[in-house]
């Protein structure tokens, strides 16, 4: 595209700045090309304000049919790339049609924007919030500039948070009982628990606790499910005997987790599972998967 840009050089430079951009918290976001960039962070119900600067290049004028800024909440499916589904769309007209000869700034404001979903970058789906500035032009094509920002939403402490307790086994082979202290964890939480061995007839080599993310996209027959293992944490080394109780203590901080997302706009869901895996000396795996709910707690630093 670069050579095209050289040929059809845009007539102006558009920049979007936020009012409190200097103080606002920035979070890293992974771009399509793998680079990390820092984007400002907003929460639902926040007012998003700032200004758009349009600066024509030296000696050029920009003729336009109007300037607008849109706040878009988009869901993009990767199998359907380029096709965005906007679940939120707010527009502010910034200028009536005319010409811009010199740098011109347009303040804008979207007060108390409802942004129910969090920014999400998954395997098959992406949810993003973006400010889109469009300088509409007739024949020469509109000039468009985007500014991404990140939305995160806090959840209150869940009123009910039971522990997960379960006894599983293979008859005459392995019986264990495991317990995780909660079923809902916030993102900086620590999973505590224990695994109790009731019967061990196999030679276990080790036991891991995995955090798995299950992302399902689409609906009906078109549903795509993608599962990733985000954490693999060794709980036990060696073979236990009957009666051993192995402690579980897994800090969630180091892992790149998001809250659980349920049926976001009928487009996708993100669920998290704790997978307890026992591996025997012949590398056979025995596992039990339990769903946990992740949520973002208010008092976090991020």
């Amino acid at each position: 595209m670069n050579y095209l840009r050289g040929a059809f050089k845009p007539a102006c430079n558009i920049s979007i700045t936020f009012t409190d951009g200097k103080n606002r918290k920035q979070v890293p976001v992974k771009k399509d090309n793998g680079q990390m960039v820092m984007n400002p962070l907003f929460h639902s119900q926040e007012t998003i304000a700032g200004k758009v600067c349009i600066e024509p290049y030296q000696g050029k004028k920009v003729e336009h049919n109007g300037v607008k800024v849109e706040l878009l909440g988009q869901i993009e499916m990767y199998f359907d790339r380029g096709n965005f589904y906007d679940f939120t769309s707010l527009v502010r007209e910034l200028d009536v049609p005319g010409e811009i000869y010199e740098k011109k700034a347009y303040p804008f404001e979207f007060p108390t924007v409802e942004m129910p979903y969090e920014t999400y970058n998954g395997v098959n789906v992406r949810l993003r919030y973006v400010l889109k500035v469009t300088v509409t032009r007739g024949y020469a094509g509109s000039i468009v500039e985007y500014q991404d920002f990140v939305v995160r939403n806090y959840s209150p402490l869940p009123p009910i948070n039971n522990s997960i307790k379960m006894e599983v086994g293979i008859e005459d082979c392995l019986h264990i009982e495991f317990e995780y202290n909660k079923s809902k964890y916030h993102l900086k939480d620590v999973i505590l628990g224990k695994v109790y061995f009731l019967l061990v007839r196999i030679k276990i080599k080790n036991m891991d606790l995995e955090i798995r993310r299950r992302e399902s996209t689409g609906a009906g027959a078109n549903t795509h499910v993608e599962t990733e293992t985000l954490a693999k944490f060794e709980l036990m080394d060696g073979a236990p005997v009957r009666g051993e109780s192995i402690p579980v203590r897994l800090f969630l901080t180091p892992y790149d987790l998001t809250p659980t997302h349920k049926n976001i706009n009928n487009k996708f869901s993100v669920k998290y599972y704790l997978n307890l895996v026992l591996v025997d000396e012949e590398d056979r795996r025995y596992f039990k998967q339990q769903e946990i709910t992740l949520y973002r707690l208010k008092d976090e630093s991020s």
Binding site: A231, F233, E234, M236, D237, P240, E244, P247, R249, F251
Partner: protein, 792 residues
């Protein structure tokens, strides 16, 4: 897979592991220098990952572990210095737990935990508890053991024991104990588990490996023993029950044995004493294959030493009834462990006995009780054949002897002889010898007949042939030594009281008479002399033989002696019997018992006539007879005549002329006893001398005839000396002329050497005899006058 690998492979793996540690340690150090916490954690975790290997034997793994350990020390220094990494230690404590692999995670956590405790930002008991709990994640025996031993090591100086800076507030010594106990329990479980993993074929190797690892487990007990503030109460209520519970429940032979050993070694004696019951109860619950006897033995040895260390502690032993408890426990162990070889039981008894002798030296009943238990055990087995077991029994029996230094004490133990009955003959003898040696060494005097009876019962292996003994196999030298010992022993039996002494003699005699022909020559003489000593004692007491009940009369004793010696003569050992008869005769004479003395002489003569055939023996015998007879003055004329007549007669009938000659001139003394009231029959004395001269002549002639040369004049010179003696003593029948002519005769004899060689005065004996005569002449006075009549 490791099990099948060779040593070379293992070396290779170790080298790889070390290289891995060094490689990552290098980057870790770079990060340390740069104070880059993230990199430090990354590389230290990588470095520690080398410890995740399963390929190494414990020994090699230890090598690897030590290298990582050195690195961890430097890491700890870094963690300690907050200014270098900028994180509060509590955050650091969380941060290291992010590591994905458990083993590196736990090593790091222990390291930070140590810093955490040192910083005192959290109560050390909480940190300790957390660490020891989290270590559960490592269930691999070897890795787990090393990890926990690392934990034990880094926490050792941070335990909240009494006097430690970590004690106080919420942290008590109890927390320290709890921690160590828990770590110990877990380590022991891991250690025991090695046994149950892997196929049975490698069991031996596993056991070897486990042995290499045992000190890691035992270290915890050492720490428990060292923790300041574990008082008796706590030990009794918490430490010991918990440790023992683990020991008993692990049901592992190796562990039980080693840990019991550890317990006994690391905790103070005083505690053992106060918890004896608990400890012993545990001993009886061990696996049947555990060598409980060694455990108990060690315990008793320790307690014995403790008792010996200071007399002040003895009352503690009494207080807790240590003996009864030990004795019960041993009984139970022996009862329950049917498989235990007899040597095991014996070893136990020996230890218990040693203990008893040290702690309760005054309680002979205890000693007897032990011996009794020993008898019961020995009776339950067919026959004691194990040489080592036998040795233990000997030790068992020797212990009281050594302790009391007095066989008399041992003799009061009723079970002592019963134990000895179970020894085989050879050992029985050894034991008997030990008993005798003990008596000799301590110079102990056995002074009652009852004790003598018991004693002889004990040493009967020496006294008589036991059933089934193959006498052929006996070593002659050993036999002699044994019998000499018995002979010496007889002299140790003594009592001032004649009545009792007589009883003793009778008892001894009874036993000795069973000894058989080989032993009697050794044993009868001391008995005889012992009896004679009693006779002399009675005699010197004035022989106040009053009441009829008194049995200890010389007469009675002589009767016994007579019978005794008679047995000897039939052995046959006539020469010895003869000597003894003569001894007795002389003693009887001293007691003025003429008939008894006569009887003895008669016996002596009969022996001479009937049993002594060897000419040399005859010569000796006759001289003995003459000598004894000469000294005896109890005989009346008639008896004496008979006896002297016999003696002279036998003298003249000796085989060789010179022997005849010498015996006959010796007989001359029988007629002239140089005592105040001695017999002085000068004529018969002279007759003897003349007869001797005739025989000497005959001998000379015979020599001439057979060898062509006359023998030396020795015989003549000897006779001359007799003449001189009697002359000097004033025998009226000896005249100077007799002397004169004899001297001339000798001179002639010497000159009339066939070869014509003059050998005048060449005989030194003769020369000195002449010199004596000259000397007496010069002396003058009465003697000089006598000798003046002799011309030389």
């Amino acid at each position: 897979m490791r099990r099948l690998a060779g040593v070379e492979d293992e070396e290779k793996w170790l080298a790889e592991g070390i290289a891995g540690i060094q490689h990552n340690a290098f980057f870790m150090h770079r990060a340390l220098d740069a104070n880059n916490l993230r990199e430090v954690l990354k590389y230290s975790a990588l470095m520690l990952s080398e410890l995740r290997t399963s390929k190494l034997s414990p020994q090699k793994y230890y090598d690897l572990y030590m290298r990582a350990f050195d690195q961890l020390r430097q890491l700890e220094v870094f963690f300690k210095d907050e200014s270098r990494h900028g994180l509060p230690v509590v955050d650091l404590y969380e941060l290291v737990q992010h590591a994905g692999n458990i083993l590196p995670r736990m090593y790091l956590l222990c390291t930070v935990g140590s810093v955490y405790m040192k910083s005192k930002q959290a109560p050390s008991k909480d940190v300790l508890k957390d660490l020891v709990e989290m270590c559960r994640g490592v269930q691999h025996p070897i890795r787990g053991l090393f990890l926990r031993s690392y934990l034990a090591q880094v926490s050792r100086d941070k335990l909240p024991e009494i006097g430690s800076e970590y004690e106080g507030d919420a942290n008590t010594v109890m927390d320290a104990v709890e921690f160590v106990l828990q770590n110990f329990t877990e380590m022991n479980k891991l250690w025991v588990r090695i046994q149950h993993q892997g196929p049975g074929t490698v069991r031996e190797k596993q056991e070897k490996e486990r042995n290499e690892l045992r000190d890691l487990v035992g270290k915890n007990l050492h720490v428990l023993g060292q923790i300041e503030g574990v008082d008796l109460e706590m030990y009794k209520e918490t430490v010991l029950p918990r440790v023992l519970e683990q020991v008993v429940n692990c049901k592992d032979e190796l562990a039980q044995y080693y840990l019991m050993e550890c317990i006994i070694q690391v905790f103070p004696d005083e505690y053992h004493l106060q918890t004896l019951e608990t400890l012993l109860a545990a001993c009886t619950q061990l696996m049947p294959t555990v060598d409980t006897k060694i455990v108990l033995t060690q315990l008793m040895d320790r307690l014995s030493n403790y008792a010996a260390s200071s007399p002040d502690v003895l009352h503690e032993f009494l207080q807790v009834e240590a003996f009864a408890k030990l004795s019960n426990a041993i009984g139970k162990v022996i009862e329950t462990q049917i498989e235990m070889p007899i040597i095991g039981a014996m070893t136990l008894f020996v230890s218990l006995l040693t203990f008893t002798l040290r702690v309760h030296p005054d309680r002979l009943d205890y000693v007897d009780q032990i011996l009794g238990a020993c008898v019961v055990k020995l009776s339950s087995v067919p026959k004691l054949e194990d040489a080592r077991a036998m040795k233990q029994v000997v030790a068992l029996l020797s212990a009281p002897l050594e302790k009391y230094n007095d066989i008399v004490t041992a003799l009061t133990l009723s079970n002592y002889p019963r134990v000895m009955d179970h020894l085989d003959d050879g050992t029985n003898k050894v034991m008997a010898m030990l008993i005798i040696q003990s008596i000799m060494k301590n110079n102990s005097c056995i002074s009652t007949a009852d004790k003598v009876e018991v004693l002889f019962e004990l040493i009967k292996g020496l006294i008589k042939d036991l059933d089934g003994t193959d006498t052929e196999e006996l070593d002659e030298e050993d036999f002699q030594e044994e019998q000499n010992s018995v002979a010496r022993l007889i002299h140790m039996l003594d009592n001032e009281e004649p009545e009792e002494m007589l009883k003793i003699i009778c008892v001894v005699r009874k036993h000795l008479m069973t000894g058989g022909t080989r032993r009697l020559p050794f044993t009868v003489p001391p008995l005889v002399f012992s009896a004679l000593r009693l006779v002399r004692q009675l005699d010197s007491q004035g022989g106040d033989i009053t009441g009829e009940e008194v049995s200890a009369t010389p007469r009675k004793i002589f009767q016994i002696l007579n019978q005794t010696i008679e047995v000897l003569s039939s052995v046959p050992c006539p020469e010895l019997a003869l000597r003894l008869y003569l001894q007795c005769a002389e003693a009887a004479s001293d007691c003025d018992l003429e008939p008894v003395a006569y009887e003895f002489f008669t016996q002596a003569f009969i022996l001479y006539e009937e049993e002594i055939a060897d000419s040399k023996a005859q010569v000796t015998a006759i001289h003995l007879i003459i000598g004894t007879l000469q000294r005896i003055n109890v005989f009346g004329v008639e008896n004496r005549d008979t006896l002297t007549h016999k003696a002279t007669g036998y003298s003249a009938r000796l085989l060789k002329k010179p022997d005849q000659c010498r015996a006959v001139y010796a007989c001359s003394h029988l007629f002239w006893v140089d005592d105040i009231d001695g017999i002085k029959d000068g004529e018969r004395a002279l007759l003897c001398l003349r007869r001797a001269l005739r025989i000497a002549n005959a001998a000379q002639e015979m020599a001439n005839a057979t060898r062509g040369s006359s023998g030396p004049v020795t015989l003549f010179v000897e006779i001359l000396n007799k003449y001189i003696y009697f002359y000097e003593k004033g025998n009226p029948h000896i005249t100077p002329s007799d002397l004169q002519s004899l001297i001339e005769l000798i001179n002639t004899e010497m000159q009339s050497d066939d070869n014509g060689n003059r050998r005048t005065h060449s005989d030194p004996f003769f020369t000195s005899t002449l010199r004596y005569i000259r000397f007496q002449k010069q002396k003058g006075g009465l003697i000089g006058d006598k000798y003046d009549l002799i011309k030389l």
